[in-house]
């Protein structure tokens, strides 16, 4: 569904992405992992067309991204920090997004109800807590049942109950054959969702493996353990190589 070909992007001297090649298929839930500044957000933004690639290309559903903006109708995006016009109500924000997507008439409003936003539609955005804003972002991402979900730190700031509801929703959509891209620092939250792991460091792709492969290599079941072990091996091999 998404094909990334030798993608390179630098900000000034800093190389945020360095010759990345990746292919994401439908029905997969892919975790983007890596330390701060490793290029995860840049990668996501490149796919969304917010960051213009320097070299290489990105193909979504067979269409090369670039000037064409239509491909974004197949993507639901949940940003890391959701900030909205402060004096608008939740209801207005949702209506507004709906109006932008006039062609889309079917709405998936399951999350709005399950996260309890339907009861506070008239509250203004300024009065909301960070977690509630996160909920709004989540609802907006799922509103048009797109084929691809890009979720940037979806569970950060959410209370455990909501977090669980969101995770279930993600799994449900994944099972419908949709592609899901997630970044998160809370690795335990990714357990049970993730099917594949992409690990980035300093703008370079370190590995892209299925969870099963990783579990085989490391012999660990929990994702955080898996990653920790991989990291350890990685650094030793690196040092050996050096």
């Amino acid at each position: 569904m998404i094909k990334i070909d030798s993608l390179t992007k630098s900000f000034g001297k800093f190389k945020a992405l360095d010759n990345i090649n990746l292919t994401f298929d439908k029905g997969r839930a892919i975790s983007l992992l890596g330390p701060n500044g490793s290029g995860k957000t840049t990668l996501i933004k490149s796919i969304l067309g917010l960051v213009i690639p320097e070299k290489g290309s990105i193909t979504v559903n067979g269409k090369v991204t670039g000037r064409d903006w239509q491909y974004r109708s197949q993507i639901g995006y949940m940003p890391q920090i959701g900030r909205y016009p402060e004096n608008m109500t939740i209801g207005q924000v949702i209506d507004m997004i709906k109006e932008i997507r006039k062609d889309e008439k079917k709405y998936d409003e399951e999350l709005i109800v399950s996260l309890g936003l339907d009861k506070i539609l008239t509250k203004t955005m300024r009065s909301l807590s960070g977690g509630t804003r996160q909920k709004v972002s989540a609802c907006l991402a799922f509103l048009f049942s797109p084929d691809i979900f890009i979720l940037d730190e979806p569970t950060a700031g959410l209370d455990p109950v909501s977090s669980e509801i969101l995770k279930e929703k993600i799994i449900k959509e994944c099972n419908k054959g949709k592609l899901i891209l997630i970044t998160s620092h809370v690795l335990s939250d990714l357990d049970g969702i993730t099917s594949d792991v992409v690990y980035l460091q300093d703008g370079k792709l370190i590995f892209y493996k299925t969870v099963e492969e990783l579990q085989d290599i490391t012999g660990e079941m929990k994702l955080n353990k898996v990653i920790a072990t991989v990291m350890k091996n990685q650094s030793t091999t690196n040092s050996v190589r050096v």
């Binding site: 992007k9 900000f11 933004k45 969304l48 067309g49 917010l50 960051v51 213009i52 903006w69 239509q70 491909y71 974004r72 109708s73 993507i75 995006y77 940003p79 920090i81 959701g82 900030r83 909205y84 016009p85 402060e86 004096n87 608008m88 207005q92 924000v93 507004m96 997004i97 932008i100 997507r101 203004t124 972002s137 907006l140 890009i150």
Partner: protein
């Protein structure tokens, strides 16, 4: 766009802006028995506050809504459209505030052509300086730098530019510089607004007193048209530039 306007109209700063303008204009108009004098005072207020408030408020607003703009851009819409919608929403709400603050009192207390011209120049100024704010927003990554640039540009156009112009006139006073002066005036939207307004008041004669070209320029409708066209360019050009930059901008 509709939503940005709605949001901004609820914004306290915009409301305060409108109320302060209204208070100023009511008091100015009721103190001065002579409405043309009152209009001149309002012109001074407009020339001083509208650029500063418009550019500063707009810049801050744009930078604050950067995440929201990102979210909108993740939707299947053109970048240009999002940017122009943000601009339109902002300039409309600031214009409405101006109309409410200056327009209503003026039209109640001194409804005439000059008052209408004051409104037109105030509105044009609002739109010019929101466009400049938009340009600042797309050119600067950092909010603090952006706000700095906004303050500098407001200061530049309200004060520094005229100082430079005066220095120019002073140094080349012995040459026929009427034409260059008129050309240079076009580089400052605040001056354009001022001249546009003065042309409607009989004090324009005082300007005509100082040179044949001014007299010709100011005495005919050409002066007003020139000022308005230049101000429209001051809206369109920054917008076009912003759009160009924004298309290639990484967020």
């Amino acid at each position: 766009m509709k939503y940005v306007t709605v949001d901004l109209l609820r914004n306290k700063v915009v409301l305060v802006y409108a109320v302060v303008l209204a208070a100023l204009s009511f008091s100015v108009l009721s103190i001065d028995s002579n409405s043309s004098k009152g209009l001149l005072s309002l012109l001074n207020i407009t020339l001083l506050f509208v650029p500063l408030i418009s550019v500063l408020f707009s810049t801050i607003y744009f930078f604050n809504s950067i995440e929201f703009i990102e979210l909108l851009l993740a939707q299947p819409v053109k970048r240009t459209k999002v940017l122009l919608a943000e601009y339109a929403g902002l300039s409309i709400s600031l214009s409405l505030a101006y109309l409410l603050g200056i327009g209503v009192p003026v039209l109640i207390m001194a409804p005439n052509i000059a008052a209408l011209t004051l409104l037109v120049s105030g509105l044009l100024l609002t739109m010019v300086f929101s466009a400049i704010a938009l340009l600042i927003f797309v050119l600067f990554k950092d909010k603090t730098k952006g706000i700095g640039a906004a303050i500098v540009s407001a200061l530049f156009f309200t004060l520094l530019f005229d100082g430079l112009l005066l220095m120019f006139i002073y140094s080349f006073g012995d040459y026929p510089i009427d034409k260059p002066i008129l050309g240079m005036v076009a580089l400052n939207p605040v001056d354009l607004a001022r001249i546009l307004m003065l042309l409607q008041l009989d004090v324009a004669v005082l300007m005509g007193y100082s040179g044949a070209l001014f007299k010709k320029f100011l005495g005919t409708g050409f002066g007003s048209i020139y000022a308005i066209v230049c101000m429209l360019l001051w809206i369109v050009l920054p917008l076009l530039w912003s759009v160009r930059v924004f298309r290639r901008k990484d967020l």
